[in-house]
Amino acid sequence: MSLTETTYWVVGASFALYILIAIRSRAGTTQEFYVAGKGIHPVANGMATAADWMSAASFISMAGLIGLSYNGYGGSVFLMGWTGGYVILAMLIAPYLRKYGKFTVPEFIGDRYYSDAARVVAVICLIICSVTYVIGQMKGIGVAFSRFLETDYETGLFSGMFIVFFYAVLGGMKGITYTQIAQFCVLIFAYTVPAIFISLQLTGQPIPQLGLGSTLADGTYLLQKLDQTLLDLGFQEYTTSVRGSTLNMAAFTASLMIGTAGLPHVIIRFFTVPTVRAARASAGWALLFIAVLYTTAPAVAAMARLNIMQTLAPEPGQHLAIEERPAWFKNWEQTGLLGIDDKNGDGLIQYSADPETNELVKLDNDILVLANPEIANLPNWVIALVAAGGLAAALSTAAGLLLAISSAISHDLLKRTLMPDISERQELMASRLAMAVAVLGAGYLGLNPPGFAAGTVALAFGLAAASLFPALLLGIFSKRVTREGAILGMLAGIGVTLAYVFQHKGIMFIPGTGFLGDLPPNWFFGIEPNAFGVVGALVNFTVSLFVSRLTAPPPESVQQLVEDIRIPVSPRSS
């Protein structure tokens, strides 16, 4: 069986599984549609959260981001940032919002800040974060299809949309939860199998996390060899190359952490478990499942980078002849992820850090994960599995985001703000309709990605960090923060962050409209735009607290609400 046929079978089987689950888990009430009836076991919710969380970017791009773009140590910001947020979620956010016990994040903000205006501002923040995020997933689906199944991008995108449409519209959160559990199993298997093989081949150690610290066949440590090879080629050392400055790394890590804790599609997953206690435990399980991929990724990054460099330069000063390049190399050249240009015409590929002489002119981040199975000579079914895994990662995250968007529209805008009189059945109908529109809208944006689509996932984190996270945290931990404080705080946080990103990256990311230039010397204390969410959050906190001191305290009923969400059950007055 050819590789493409195998891939069709494996991907087809995984899709059939998702459809089967969708048919068996239709939602009959709004409670099922929004929060899966609050009956999900904490371990099951942990798995679903892990799939919800790990996107196409985590699966396909993160190892390359760490190993290539950020040259090793600098990429740690993603590893620590995208996992450390779960500690904040588990301690500061999830248990209290679960106790509050309703359906959406803007709903909490609207009730806690006794204001429809606050609810609408929260809906807007949510939609900005989630829409920028979902575009990346739709592109991921299209790209995965076109690379592995040899369809064109549009066909791939439509197939993905059809699957998501099917289970998200029918089953809402209930359908999404059970498909996410299946998708987690597919994606984690697909990620770890090639990693185990590559670790075995390089170090003889089957566990990649340990393999990263082990020795190679020649007795030197893998990381030492990698450092030395990079230095020989004129790069910085892998294990010590800092991204920007220490301050920039700290700000970047902190932004991703608090952004994670403020992303609505992650928070609403914790509304699906039966108790506050289960919400806390569930965050632990979620991170455990996420960590399987997140501790494997740095091993894949280092090992694949070393593999590629040793293919190109087996010994210092020795270079691979263009004629002798392996089959996988040629395959990935056709997709445009690898590219060579024999600048000096000697028939050899000189790879170096100097752009003047470097002849490996294209080395895409995604190659580290996508080409791994071929570089390691793994059988076809493993390559097919990577395709199914990448699709599972993109589909599961897209579905979670679409639910956050559609429930904000049907529940917060329609039911809680514009048409409070609609019945339960009408709201369920409206939520399905909102979901259908959201899927089609996301598909449209996937087909016609707006100019600002590149690099927007990082922006989504910055915005969540600067807008929703402070409003949630203050809403739980302060009884004194008022609606005026929260609304102005959210607007100030999102405003400052967007202004900073736009002034360096262009207004709405249109090249040339950025008036300060995207150069490190112009950055505020050397903090890059993607790392600015933490500064936006500080602005939000300051404005909220300051304005709250100047305005009348929240009504008694709101202060009582805060007391109530802080404690799992009311103490028995005996």
Partner: protein
């Protein structure tokens, strides 16, 4: 007095909760932004097998610590709730 009992339980619960958040939150800061970013250079002088220690914290250790932190928090809070009679009924 019945009412003040309920109030005492509430206060005790929140005080203990904040104490654990502070302790575990400090460890959270130390293992990630501390060992992984701020003090990475001195820690890199120490080796853990093939790893420089600071690099290990940044790419592996912090994540393991996060998992332990969350499960610790979940378990101390569950015990606290049991002690104060604040356990939720299983749904």
């Amino acid at each position: 007095m019945a009412l003040s009992d309920a109030e005492t339980i509430r206060r005790t619960y929140w005080r203990e909760n904040r104490r654990w958040m502070l302790i575990l939150g400090s460890i959270w800061f130390v293992v990630s932004l501390g060992c992984g970013v701020l003090w990475v250079e001195p820690l890199n002088q120490i080796r853990l097998g093939g790893f420089k220690l600071g690099f290990w914290f940044a790419q592996q250790g912090a994540i393991y610590a996060f998992i332990i932190l969350i499960f610790s928090y979940a378990s101390v809070m569950a015990r606290l709730e049991k002690r104060l009679g604040l356990e939720e009924p299983e749904a």
